[in-house]
Amino acid sequence: MELDSVPQPALEQMERVAGADLVVGILRPGNNGVQAGAAAMVREAVEGFPHPTRAVLVVDDGGGGAKVEEDQSLPVVRYKLVDGNSPVSPEGVYGACETVFGIGRKIGVRACTVIASDLQTVTSAWIDRLARPALEMEFDLVAPRYARHKWEGLINRSILSPLIRALYGKRIQNPVGPDIGISGRLMKALLEEQAGPRTAGAASPVASVISTAARANFQICEAEVGARQQPPADWMNLSTLIAQILKPAFLDMERCAAVWQRVRGSQAVPAFGAVEPAPEESGPVDAGRLIDSFQLGVKNLQDVWGLVLPPTVLLEIRKLARLPAASFRMADDVWVSIVYDFALAHRIRTINREHLLRSFTPLYLGWIASYALEMAAAGPLEVEARLEGLARAYEAGKPYLLSRWRWPDRFNP
């Protein structure tokens, strides 16, 4: 991000703090829109570092200015990070992260941490764990590990995390944050890629963080940060949410095909911090409604899916739609094939990309229904084993993705 049109006050703030080690971006207001706790949290984290560290706090200046306590030990840069209350959306977070990275680069920091989660659950330990490996251990990317119950983060668990594991061989619980720590050099690499030609810069720098790191052999680790306050599921706008998440991921796949096609197998990355207990579950999931949505999609979207999915998968979907709720199970290989075929259709523009991504929603709801029924009574270990099985199915299906990607012939089984 070039920050070409930096407002004068913000520019002055940045120039004043040039030479800092760490920039911490706090994207969301805390209680009552007050970010006062943010400054204290950053100070506390930085004071715990073994070496003196000069940090800068970046807070959103939209909506009338953030209320942040500022003193000489912690300069604050106020900048418009988000539009309205949109940081909840992936697009909003991606955009805000990019802005914080841009500010970090302008200041010339060695590391950057972005806290996108609701401040209610964030502590100074989050900043410590996300920043310190990048500042002191030469890690370039610190991805968060959250304590989560089985219904949390399902788009990530069913698509992003296993997809990225299969593509880039890195087993990362939350490959696109939203809370994240990165090194100065990774930040530079991400922003330079964004500044490239249209095709290269189409994906968000956050969505590209793993691929960029994998390509240049940047060092990746994870940090246990505990439970996070999840934004409530917005079922009415699920299609938009899915599109906002999948689009940059699929664009990044296209951009980095030469990288992920060489990766075989996967490995865990180092993780810091102790695992914390998962929060209480929010109650059972109504699988019936999800199945209804899936069946409606089967009825209405056959023609679209027919252009995207091979006949064997279409047949499985059709059979699935006829099953009673009690035996509704979507096999992992079918789900993986769906995700891979959608990624391919996105790449070769089989249909309009927006339409394509929106048509994915009923299929995703079908997967959730299947997962919800399967895991209704499962404990944390069973859930992890279930998701590990899914991740392995993604890896096992990678040759299928490769063959379809390299020779995207519609005439296939």
Binding site: P197, A257, A258, A268, F272, W407, D409
Partner: protein
């Protein structure tokens, strides 16, 4: 203002796919019948979708257009027919937005005769600066050695200009006067032109006709040094002012003549490879790869940053300048049946018509274009298989409008067809209604979709643009096969040039173990083995096979490939998040350790069984179970410590094999490694024994047990004993403390008392035998459940002159040196009788004369060995020691056990025979042929009562297990053969097992030394072999004689001579088979010695049994 180019990689042109087009022919946006820049901009999405990365525009500058724009009248503008300079800027911006690079023409050699420079020159006075912009002469005789290029139209390179009253020089058409680069003003003008376009952001310049820039009398006026100096200047100016730009040379010359245009990487970045193109067509038509391999063999290496430009067709004729006369005639006959297809020295046809519109041939040639070393250049329209019009003049037949769809004018223009700059192709086969972009985009099986997929695939692999080329030479010359390599990418390309299916056997032995994966469909092919790799190809078929290396042979760079372990604390590593990672890492780590005993077995998984932190250090001791794909698991002792900063760097350099993993902790980045490389950990191990300390483990305890002699051995308390790691690591790891103590850590752990520790303690503290190192203590493991084991043994360090093996080899080298000068005596094998009988007499005079000092040495060794056995056989209260009788049933059991082991060794040999070096195959075959005979020989032992007794023995006795201490020997290493079960190693056995072991060792020494001595002159082996036999036989007999003398009357010696011979022989055979198994597993190149040992046994049926033959004459 300078605009940057669009590429980010300075070597972008190496990975590029270039698309050549003429603005005039691509798309007409304003309906005037001529393609234009806005039209081209409109079609950039098509090019982006096709996947090309660089657009090369033929000249679009103001021009009278008498040579398709190569006759330029204004270098820094756009021909009004094609648009404006702003249109060009917009096009460039749009192309860059799409990540496309743009290459334009820099026609340096000549201008149009309408160029103001020329008009001014012809009016200017002779020799004036203005006149000298061009090359003038008063006659047409200058530069007579320069050939005429356009032979169809030009008769001379000089043309009379009436205005100037002089001749002007032109290498091409007479309306294209050559610029005079001897005039510095012209050079400056051309540099200004270059800067003008580079300032706009143009990424690359194609330098047209550069061999002809400078003229000199007495030369052919091509490729002159002055021309190269000029190009260097141009490149220099480009490098100085602009980043990531490129110059492509058009020099239609032989590869060796083009090579100088790359300079030392300081002239052109790229140059066309002209001679390759016609030869691809020739090879295809002749169905013989020779034409291609021949020209590639003539292609010199080019600088690292340089690149060849490859093409199948372009805007000119298929040039046949760079072929022989015969080849040219062949090409005319093969590819231009109609004489109208020919122009100048070439064939003016497009790709598809040249190949009779055969889709397979088109695909095959494109597969070569995309996989040969260089940057592929596509000519517009060839991606859809456009045809040509041979009825149009000059080369206009291949420059017709692009066929976009089936609408009027092929969708190229909305103009009245009569207004088009050129008629579109309209015939039924090639016409736009049959061949057009729109139709092909809607057809998943069309050529354009195939091309798009191939381009996308090529772009995934830098090996195609950057890799080396190595041709394979299969006997079937209809098949072209080559390997491309770049960094970790390896691709095998195989192409069938024939119209029929072809088989091919490829010699890929050097790639044994790699797995080819067909790149288009990601289909895994069978793994490559040493045998020829067989493929079958359909007509004009081709394979691109990505070679995946064998996983287990991949060099594992721990830092690069594996995630670091988080080593904040041992709990986390051994029990927490790191445990599974560490267990996975050990699968790779353990087999690389010298002490790992199961190298022939494949580890499936490892499991940390127990571990404890070693007090006084930051290390842990761990017991790890290795689970194999087959068979029972093993258990190993592992010591682990972490190092950071300079300490880690030092270790990385000094002992990379001891690094288990990269590690990170709050101390930073470091290494997890064997703790024996850590001084504090090594000292803590000694302290553990000295103090009789205890380490609590997860499932038991580790304790130090000091020996009675420790205090005396250690010296004054508090004396620092600096730890040092012994370099002589084999199946264990040894740490030396000062010059006093040695701690041996037993890596492979077996539950139960360790024989070495047990015997050492017994001999030191009970038998008071001084022929072994004094026992100083042990480290014992006591699990909460099950039987414990010994982790380490502490002994007094013995000052010695070396081990028996090394000293004997030194002696043997001198022996062969001396013997080599002496003729082989006729009676050298006179002592070739039975060894037992031989041992009853002193050595012969011949042996004395030649073997000499070694005889005394082995005699001392024989005595020492007997003394050891006598000590072990002495009556004892310890139930593990003392004598016990060997019954007939014991012999039966012994024979059955030995036979079983022998059968396993034969099975191993059978499995490994294919992997032995060629020269050993005969030996191995002969040994396998004796399997039944040898196995039967063990039966002869069974059921006999040899009236013998048995006691504890050394168990793995050979020259390497004795140290020479002054004039005597000290016997070490009572661990037994580590590969054998502990129960067996602790069992009482006949001491003759040790005797046989030493006899085999003497034989091993004799032949190992002979092999080494004759390594440079293998023909001497046969000549010296009688001397080896003499040495082996006489030392063996002397050793045995001394042994028998010292042990005479001992109960462990069989009462009769037959019993002695029988037992020695059977143990000897067992030993040689053990050696064979060891070498097959660890050093196949050494298997020759045991194989020869086995074959030295005579083949005798019936009559004498095996119990006597090993010690008879082996001739």
């Amino acid at each position: 203002m300078k605009k940057p180019g669009s590429a980010s990689d300075p070597l972008w042109y190496k990975d590029a796919v270039i698309y050549e087009l003429h603005v005039r022919a691509f798309f007409d946006s304003n309906g005037d019948g001529v393609g234009d820049l806005p039209g081209l901009t409109e079609k950039l999405d098509y090019l982006e979708d096709l996947g090309v990365t660089c657009v090369w525009l033929l000249p679009f500058f103001p021009s009278p257009l008498r040579d398709d724009g190569y006759d330029i009248s204004d270098y820094t503008n756009v021909h009004p027919m094609y648009g404006t300079i702003d249109d060009f800027r917009a096009f460039l911006e749009a192309a860059h937005q799409r990540g496309l690079q743009v290459m334009i023409e820099l026609v340096m050699n000549h201008t149009s005769d309408q160029h103001p420079w020329f008009q001014r020159a012809r009016q200017a006075p002779p020799d004036s600066v203005e006149r000298n912009y061009y090359v003038w002469s008063n006659n047409d005789q200058k530069y007579r050695d320069a050939r005429i290029i356009f032979t169809d139209t030009e008769k001379s390179n000089w043309t009379w200009d009436p205005a100037a009253q002089a001749y002007y020089w032109h290498r091409f058409f007479s309306h294209q006067p050559d610029l005079n680069f001897d005039n510095p003003r012209v050079v400056d003008e051309m540099l200004q032109v270059m800067r003008f376009w580079l300032d706009l952001g143009v990424d690359a310049l194609r330098l047209d006709a550069i061999p002809y820039l400078v003229e000199r009398d007495g030369t052919n006026c091509e490729n002159l040094p002055e021309t190269h100096a000029l190009i260097k200047r141009l490149r220099h100016e480009m490098e100085e002012g602009y980043g990531r730009r490129m110059i492509l040379a058009e020099a239609n010359q032989w590869p060796a003549d083009v090579r100088p245009y790359f300079g030392e990487g300081d002239e052109c970045h790229m140059a066309f490879h002209f001679p390759l193109m016609p030869r691809i067509y020739m090879a295809l038509r002749q169905e013989d790869r020779l034409a291609i391999t021949d020209i590639m063999a003539q292609t010199p290496a080019i600088p690292e940053t340089s690149q060849w430009g490859l093409f199948l067709r372009n805007h000119d004729e298929l040039t046949l300048e760079m072929v022989t006369n015969d080849e040219r005639d062949y090409m005319y006959l093969a590819y231009s049946a109609d004489s109208r297809m020919r122009v100048n020295l070439g064939i003016r046809r497009r790709l598809a018509p040249l190949l009779d519109n055969n889709r397979r041939r088109i695909e095959l040639l494109n597969s070569l274009l995309f996989s040969f070393p260089g940057t592929p250049i596509l000519y517009y329209g060839d991606e859809i298989g456009m045809g040509d019009n041979i009825y149009l003049g000059d080369r206009n037949g291949v420059r017709t409008p692009m066929q976009w769809n089936g609408d009027r004018n092929a969708g190229f223009s909305r103009a009245n067809p009569a207004k088009l700059y050129s008629p579109v192709i309209m015939d039924p086969v090639w016409g736009y209604e049959a061949v057009n972009v729109e139709a092909q985009q809607g057809d998943p099986s069309s050529l354009v979709n195939w091309m798009r997929n191939m381009i996308a695939l090529r772009k995934l692999f830098q090996v195609f643009g950057r890799g080396t080329l190595e041709f394979l030479n299969p006997s079937n010359r209809k098949v072209l096969a080559y390997l491309r390599r770049y960094q970790d990418e390896q691709v095998l390309c195989v192409a069938n040039l024939s119209r029929f299916a072809q088989p091919v056997d490829l010699d890929l032995a050097a790639l044994e173990g790699a797995t080819p994966v067909e790149m288009l469909g990601y289909v895994q092919f069978p793994q490559i083995e040493r045998q020829p790799y067989r493929l079958s190809l359909g007509p004009y078929g081709f394979f691109w096979l990505e070679l995946h290396p064998r996983p287990e042979t991949t060099e594992v760079d721990l830092q690069a490939e594996l995630p670091p372990l988080v080593a904040d604390n041992w709990e986390g590593v051994m029990e927490g998040f790191g445990r599974s990672q560490l267990e996975a890492l050990l699968v790779e780590y353990l087999p690389k350790q010298r002490w790992f005993g199961a190298k022939a077995r494949r580890i499936r998984a490892t499991r940390i069984l127990d571990w404890g932190e070693l007090a006084g250090s930051a290390a842990v001791l761990a017991l790890v179970e290795t689970q194999f794909e087959n068979g029972l698991p093993d258990r190993y002792l592992l010591t682990l410590a972490a190092a950071y900063g300079p300490e880690a760097e030092k270790l990385r350099l000094s002992a990379p094999n001891a690094i288990v993993s990269a590690a990170v902790s709050r101390r930073g980045r470091g290494l997890l490694h064997e703790a024996v490389f850590d001084d504090a950990a090594s000292a803590a191990l000694l302290a553990l024994v000295e103090m009789g300390g205890r380490v609590a483990t997860r499932h038991g305890a580790i304790r130090g047990v000091p020996g009675a002699a420790l205090a005396a051995l250690r010296g004054a308390p508090g004396t620092p004993l600096a730890p040092k790691r012994s370099s002589a690591e084999q199946s264990n790891t040894s740490l030396i403390y000062g010059d006093r103590l040695i701690l041996k850590l037993y890596r492979r752990q077996q539950p139960g008392p360790n024989p070495e520790s047990e015997i050492g303690k017994y001999l030191t503290e009970t038998a008071h035998f001084d022929g072994v190192p004094a026992f100083a203590g042990a480290i014992e493991y006591d699990p909460a459940d099950g039987e414990g084991s010994t982790l380490g043994l502490l002994e007094g360090l013995v000052a010695n002159e070396g081990d028996g093996w090394t000293l004997m080899l030194e002696e043997l080298e001198r022996y062969y040196e001396n013997c080599a000068r002496v003729p082989v005596p006729e009676d050298i094998d006179a002592d070739g009788g039975d060894l037992i009988a031989l041992s009853e007499h002193p050595p012969s005079q011949l042996a004395h004369d030649h073997v000499g000092i070694a005889l005394d040495s082995v005699a001392r060794l024989g005595k020492r060995t007997a003394a050891l056995h006598l000590a072990l056989a002495a009556p004892s209260d310890d139930p593990a020691f003392g004598l016990e009788p060997m019954t007939a049933a014991d012999f039966e059991t012994l024979a059955a056990g030995l036979r079983k082991k022998a059968a396993q060794v034969f099975d191993l040999l059978r499995d490994r025979v294919a992997k032995l070096p060629d020269e050993m195959l005969d030996l191995a075959g002969m040994v396998l042929g004796r399997r039944k005979q040898i196995l039967d020989s063990f039966r002869s032992l069974g059921g006999r009562n040899l009236e013998s007794q048995r006691c504890r023995v050394h168990g793995d006795y050979h020259l390497g297990q004795v140290l020479q201490v002054r004039t005597d020997y000290m016997i070490v290493d009572f661990e037994g053969e580590p590969a054998r079960p502990l129960e067996e190693r602790r069992a009482r056995q006949s001491p003759l097992k040790d005797v046989a072991g030493m006899l085999r060792s003497l034989a091993y020494a004799a032949y190992a030394s002979l092999t080494s001595y004759t390594a440079r002159r293998p023909e001497d082996f046969e000549k010296l072999e009688p001397w080896a036999r003499l040495w082996e036989r006489s030392t063996a007999a002397e050793f045995l004689r001394a042994y028998r003398e010292t042990a005479a009357g001992a109960a462990f010696l069989p009462s009769g001579e037959g019993g002695l011979r029988g037992l020695v022989a059977i143990y000897w055979l067992d030993k040689v088979l053990y050696e064979l198994a060891y070498e097959l597993n660890n050093r196949p190149g050494w298997a020759r010695i045991p194989l020869m040992g086995i074959l030295s046994l005579p083949i005798e049926a019936g009559g004498r049994g095996w119990n006597s033959t090993p010690f008879r004459n082996r001739r």
